[in-house]
């Protein structure tokens, strides 16, 4: 035989299998890490016995839970009322500067909730801007109370309506305008056709967006804490800070987990329901935008008001306090320590999340099956659950089983990985999917072994995905508040914690500079998500994801 290929020795042959244990082990390890804190919390809460159940049924607990539900429901309904008209105006009508409004109305997503709440307090609070400029000259001692339900609900509505907006816009883009025209030829006016045809067809998109808003509101810590409306997240924090009463905090967390899981379940159910068909590009070419006629200017005024209150005024107020702080010798140097803290911890988190995400992304793209499906759900759960719950669980766990890491930077980084593994996996998966298995197989056929194929082919091709995953985790970590508050080593400061503690103490000038930096960082995250989700289409920027706290 002239050929040098030798197939006879049995040791050279590989068995058939769905990937070696070398591939699966790190992926499963990452999944287990995400699962650990929440499972532990549930075990702890359930193991607490009769005492815990009694706590759950106490009047005060029910009151807090009721407040949480009320807030979530109000914000959800409110966002739908703002978002549906905006979506229709920016997709279907001849609104002047339509494209500009479409961009401007997504910007509130770039404002973290605690920054939004800080702005509200800084403007309308007892020592705020309006009191100083308008109140004092007129001799008004106190403005109407900004704290409590109205303030929290309005703030969260103005910050989270883009979730519904993007979802409904996507659905409107995909809806054949011929449907509405068919309604018109069958005897319905423009409004009648909208109500009878378009609105029912948009319902799934409104529900999907609304559920994201509900989850965002349930998980929110920043706004409710600064605006002093005691929902579950803030109650958990207060219990933890004031009394270190673990049983109560754990019981409250359990209720919050149940609520979040219910919303997630509803979301999965609403997505799973048969979605409607029917988009036709040709029909789009046929019918132009709907003329608004005399409604043009009221429509513009509506957009203007929404953008003013959700974006322009907040930025202006931040700018005012920044200038005032600089003039009042509020040294920018004080920004240095929290900025360095944020950068250090976010870089570590980004690196750790990418390392943990890669094996999971790899098994999910190359070996789809029940096990990788479960891995997907598990890692997603870390992202979907409120940050405060995950942080609290890690506190409990480390105090009991790993005391040396309690209040250490490594535990904080671990918490970030648990929280943000899912978006990192998403980014890496997207780029791994671009690498065809055929290309890897081609490398094998020309004699490269699996490691060489990985190093020379897969890695270079997927590199952009690793970079974007890292950047994404970096930016969301910089924004994160509740876990950072709970898990930071003593004396450790980040931009987010600085904004929060300065605003809760009323030092708005101090909070302004870090707050503006954070808005900038969030703006980049948002642009990134929109660019990655490609089209701001069917599910919007949140496609398959959950609002970023």
């Amino acid at each position: 035989m002239a050929s040098g290929v030798n197939l006879s020795p049995a040791k050279g042959l590989h068995r058939r299998k769905g990937g070696s244990s070398l591939v699966w082990a790190p992926a499963l390890l990452a999944g287990a890490a995400v699962l650990l804190p929440v499972v532990y919390l549930v075990i702890r809460a359930l193991g607490a016995g009769a005492e815990a159940w009694e706590l759950l049924l106490r009047w005060r607990t029910l009151e807090i839970a009721g407040r949480t539900v009320l807030l979530a429901a109000t914000v959800t309904v409110g966002t739908a009322l703002i978002a549906v008209p905006l979506a229709w105006l920016t997709v279907r009508s001849d609104l002047p500067l339509r494209r500009l409004w479409a961009v401007l109305t997504t910007l509130p997503l770039a404002i973290p909730s605690y920054v939004g709440a800080m702005v509200v307090v800084a403007a309308l609070g007892p020592r705020g801007l309006v009191q100083q400029i308008v109140g004092q000259p007129l001799g008004i001692e106190r403005l109407p109370e900004v704290y409590g339900f109205p303030g929290a609900a309005a703030t969260l509505m103005l910050l989270s309506f883009p979730y519904v907006l993007l979802s409904v816009r996507g659905a409107l883009w995909g809806l054949d305008p011929a449907l509405e025209e068919a309604g018109r030829t069958l005897g319905y006016s423009r409004w009648g056709a909208f109500r009878r045809v378009t609105l029912p067809l948009l319902r799934p998109a409104i529900v999907a967006g609304g559920l994201l808003v509900a989850l965002y509101t349930l998980s929110d810590f920043g706004a409710v804490s600064l605006l002093r409306y005691e929902t579950l997240t803030w109650a958990i924090y207060l219990q933890y800070e004031a009394t270190f009463d673990r049983a109560v905090a754990a019981a409250l967390s359990l209720i919050l987990i149940l609520m979040a899981v219910t919303v997630l379940g509803l979301e999965a159910w609403s997505k799973g329901r048969g979605h409607y068909y029917g988009s036709s590009a040709r029909a789009f070419l046929q019918s132009g935008p709907v003329p608004l006629g005399p409604w043009r200017w009221p429509a513009v005024a509506f957009c203007l008001v929404v953008v003013a209150f959700s974006v322009a005024l907040p930025l202006a107020i931040l700018g005012y306090w920044l200038v005032r702080g600089l003039a009042g010798s509020e040294a920018l140097v004080s920004l240095l320590r929290p900025a360095v803290g944020s950068v250090v911890v976010a870089s570590l988190a980004a690196a750790a999340a990418v390392v943990a995400a890669f094996p999971v992304a790899r098994v999910m793209t190359r070996f789809p099956g029940p096990l990788s499906g479960i891995l997907g759900v598990v890692t997603y759960s870390g992202f979907a659950l409120p940050g405060i719950v995950v942080a609290l669980a890690l506190v409990f766990f480390s105090v009991r089983f790993a005391y040396p890491v309690y209040q250490s930077l490594s535990l904080l980084v671990f918490a970030y990985v648990v929280l943000f593994l899912a978006p990192a996996i998403g980014a890496i998966k997207a780029s791994l999917l671009q690498v065809s298995p055929r290309v890897e197989e081609a490398a094998r056929t020309v004699g490269a072994g699996p490691w060489r194929v990985f190093a020379r082919v897969t890695l270079p091709l997927a590199a952009p995905g690793f970079l974007s995953a890292g950047a994404l985790v970096f930016l969301v970590t910089v924004k994160e508040l509740p876990a950072t508050l709970l898990l930071s080593p003593p004396g450790f400061k980040t931009l987010a914690t600085t904004v929060w503690s300065a605003s809760s103490a009323g030092f708005f000038a101090q909070a302004a500079a870090p707050a503006l930096l954070l808005v900038l960082a969030s703006g980049v995250v948002m642009a990134f998500l929109i660019a990655r989700g490609g089209k701001v289409s069917s599910q919007g920027v949140t496609r398959g994801d959950v609002p970023i706290r």
């Binding site: 011929a178 025209e181 068919a182 030829t185 069958l186 048969g274 409607y276 029917g278």
Partner: protein, 362 residues
């Protein structure tokens, strides 16, 4: 009695497009008539339908329904008040409503018992009995087509407009469905206008056919007339296969490359062209041929050969499926029409008369 639908010099231009999509178009459709608007894509036929439905506003001219002006450049009766039924190209069935609810959609003016009756009538007419509770996503393409038609017919419209109604169906289904649709429309006695780019469909479906090109109607007549006596070169080429032989007037007729045609035509305004269809020509012996086979297309019952003549003019000829000729074969083409041929000057048909048959054309 005024026509059901009439367009008088209607023009529609869209911003950003240099030429009007519909250009000074006039058209009328009598009650109970089925009119086919046929033309290549982009010729303005769908826009014409939308102008009639009130979904577009004309820049000039008038649209009339039963003698009433419903749009001109200043006024527009909105679509919901025109009593116009429309079947959209992708059907635009309401996906959130059942078949029955779709059909009932336009019947809100009727009292409840009368409404139920009407739904029953229309469902029976369109053969949709038994599908009332199904959703559009769960019925076949042909059934969706009929639901769209039933929905348009239910409010008893002045005219039903159908926009490429069969383009979403596969070839086999299309032939069956168009027969059904024609039968339903005829049974309902409705006036209907339908748009298609398929000449065969237009000739089959229409009582009248209007051939459109670049926003104008080139010819409007019965299917037989537009096919047999096309008024422009465009119509001749669009409906059926046509080739054109240059001809010069001689004693006893018109002389073409394939011999004398015993017809006289007015050639005062330019060179005459004689239109020939593949069935007007036959293939003779290979020896002493006047053309060369350049390609062949097997059509099952026969071949269609493309033959290049000495001058370079190409003609297409039908021949028996038993007559196998290879490309490059030298062959004789003969002109053997059994009817007068249409003559064109400058792209338009001209008056032409036959003269007593001549021995040269055996």
């Amino acid at each position: 009695m005024c026509p059901s639908v009439e367009l008088r010099g209607v023009t529609k231009a869209f911003p950003g497009r240099p030429l009007p999509v519909v250009d000074n178009l006039s058209l009328s459709v009598e009650e109970g008539q089925l009119m086919a608007l046929v033309g290549p894509s982009g010729c303005g036929k769908t826009t014409t339908l939308r102008l009639i439905a009130g979904l577009e506003w004309p820049n000039g001219g008038q649209v009339l329904l039963i003698g009433q002006v419903v749009s001109d450049e200043r006024r527009l009766l909105p679509p919901e008040r025109r009593r116009v039924g429309m079947v959209f190209q992708e059907y635009a069935l309401f996906p959130h409503l059942t078949v029955k609810e779709n059909v009932a959609f336009g019947l809100r003016g009727l009292a409840r018992p009368r409404r139920g009756e009407r739904i029953g009538e229309v469902l029976e007419l369109t053969g949709l009995g038994g599908l009332e509770r199904r959703y559009p996503a769960h019925i076949s393409g042909g059934e969706q087509q009929r639901v769209a038609l039933a929905r348009a017919l239910a409010p008893d419209p002045v005219v039903v407009l159908l926009d490429e109604p069969f383009s979403n169906l596969d070839a086999e289904l299309r032939v069956r469905v168009r027969r059904e649709v024609r039968k339903i429309l005829k049974e309902a006695g409705t006036t209907a206008i339908f748009v298609t780019h398929d000449q065969e469909e237009a000739l089959f479906m229409g009582d009248k056919v209007a051939v459109m090109n670049t926003g104008r109607v080139e010819q409007m007549d019965t299917p037989y007339e537009v096919f047999q006596h096309p008024r422009t070169r465009f119509v001749a080429q669009f409906l059926g296969t046509s080739d054109f032989l240059p001809a010069r007037p001689v004693e006893g007729g018109l002389m073409t490359e394939l011999g004398l045609v015993p017809q006289v035509a007015d050639s005062s305004r330019g060179e005459v062209e004689v239109m020939v269809r593949p069935d007007d020509l036959t293939l003779g012996q290979a020896e002493g041929g006047n053309g060369v086979v350049t390609s062949r297309q097997f059509l099952g019952t026969h071949y269609m050969y493309t033959v290049a003549l000495a001058s370079g003019t190409r003609v297409r000829v039908f021949s028996s499926h038993m007559n196998h000729l290879e490309e490059g074969t030298n062959i004789a083409v003969r002109l053997e029409p059994r009817h007068e041929l249409v003559c064109f000057v400058g792209g338009r048909a001209v008056e032409s008369r036959g003269i007593a048959s001549s021995p040269q054309l055996a």
